[in-house]
Symmetry: C2
Subunit: 247 residues, 2 copies
């Protein structure tokens, strides 16, 4: 499928606005995604306002696309609306637990990916911001998310001002298993990561950081253990604060 196969992350956007009608049509496609029991336990927050983008930017480590993109979408796990409906209909909701968070996060993520496919089909470029789960607490404050709502991912949207090459992917057999998980031998690992390690850009990363291997760029620079621990504890505290840890 051409749209899917041509996906590349777009981080630079032109000044061209996205019309309300186009955004609405993309979101309408997005919400056709499957959802648990058709209960739609997610919300999408649309950010277009410059001041709001400026406030969100530090939550995304000031990556420039947040302020450059005409539209920023924050996808949230959301049981607040459903809980209100239950309470208003003489039904006592039992969705203040970890499973319910995971259920709602899955709903939100399937919609996010559908929105991205729909946007790319309309000629827009997208970029996912993984920083959302690191900085959920600050995003909750800025977007005024109530109890029962947790942001899980953010997507910037705009008309592309760059056309980067397709990103590499591991060979399909590296990520797909037949019938049972076939664990990786040392030779498998060498074979599957060989292409990625051989890129000039990979070698440059290693050299610029004064390291020995590409894997060290991830463990020592990009996704460090101490940061992961800090953000794990912050995220678990957010789940508790937003009412998802009563089990």
């Amino acid at each position: 499928m051409k749209i899917l196969k041509q996906h590349r992350t777009i981080r630079r956007y032109t000044a061209r606005e996205i019309s309300d009608a186009l955004l609405e049509s993309i979101l309408e496609s997005g919400i056709r995604a499957s959802t648990t029991g058709n209960i739609q336990v997610y919300s999408v927050i649309v950010t277009r306002d410059e001041e709001m983008k400026e406030r969100l930017a530090p939550c995304h480590f000031n990556q420039p696309m947040v302020q450059e993109a005409p539209v920023v979408l924050t996808f949230c796990a959301d049981f607040n609306r459903f809980n209100k409906w239950c309470r208003q209909r003489d039904a006592e909701p039992g969705y203040d637990n970890f499973l319910s968070f995971v259920t709602a996060a899955i709903d939100a993520l399937l919609v996010a990916q559908n929105v991205c496919v729909a946007a790319e089909n309309e000629g827009l470029g997208i970029c996912y911001l993984g920083t959302t789960t690191y900085m959920a607490e600050q995003i909750i404050d800025i977007l005024e998310l109530p109890s029962g709502v947790v942001p899980v991912t953010t997507v910037t949207l705009g008309y592309p001002a760059e056309q980067p090459p397709l990103n590499d992917r591991l060979p399909l057999e590296a990520v797909v298993h037949q019938e049972r998980y076939s664990d990786y031998s040392a030779e498998d690992i060498d074979m599957f990561y060989e292409e990625k390690e051989a890129f000039d850009s990979s070698k440059q990363f290693v050299e610029e950081n004064g390291l020995k291997t590409l894997a060290q760029v991830f463990t020592k620079v990009r996704y460090k253990k101490e940061d992961n621990i800090t953000f794990s504890n912050k995220l678990l505290a957010v789940l508790k604060k937003q009412g998802f840890m009563n089990q």
Copy 2:
């Protein structure tokens, strides 16, 4: 976008097989999805074998599509492969924590939705099985998933033997917020849920269960608090067992 807008969950399949070439092409499209830092921390387990489907069926509460579908795909958060690569390259991975699980689950879910869009584009029907997170422990045993790997969703795939009507969705303004979360008034809730409550099928659910409201069908029958608590604790235990709770 036609493919997205026409999505309906397909639970009945014809006996027609899915060729290896078609499945490979769909999975190739799937893995073009965005992934955190392009590290692809997910795996997909393909189930075609009848005996394996029979073993998986109880994990999905014996919903008949698991055994009827020619292909069952289990999408897993997977740091095992990446951790092995790191260790083999003199890099100490720090991905045994909750944030890393969430990162990997997001990767897996974006790929899952891409696979579903690609499959529907080829005329296949899909059904997500939310039971995966409830029964992760049993699925881990059956699919022989090692430490660092947790199943997050399952999709059944096959040629449709039914053409159900489009499912209802809440109005777009019920799930989309402009700039800030706009919390719901009692009138908003009445308005947004009015259509869903008015369906004959909804009224039938309420009546068959001897209940008063549609919301009670969810809280008292489909997604009960006591089940959610049980499955929350099981899932947290699975995360611990699979090595994702060291923070």
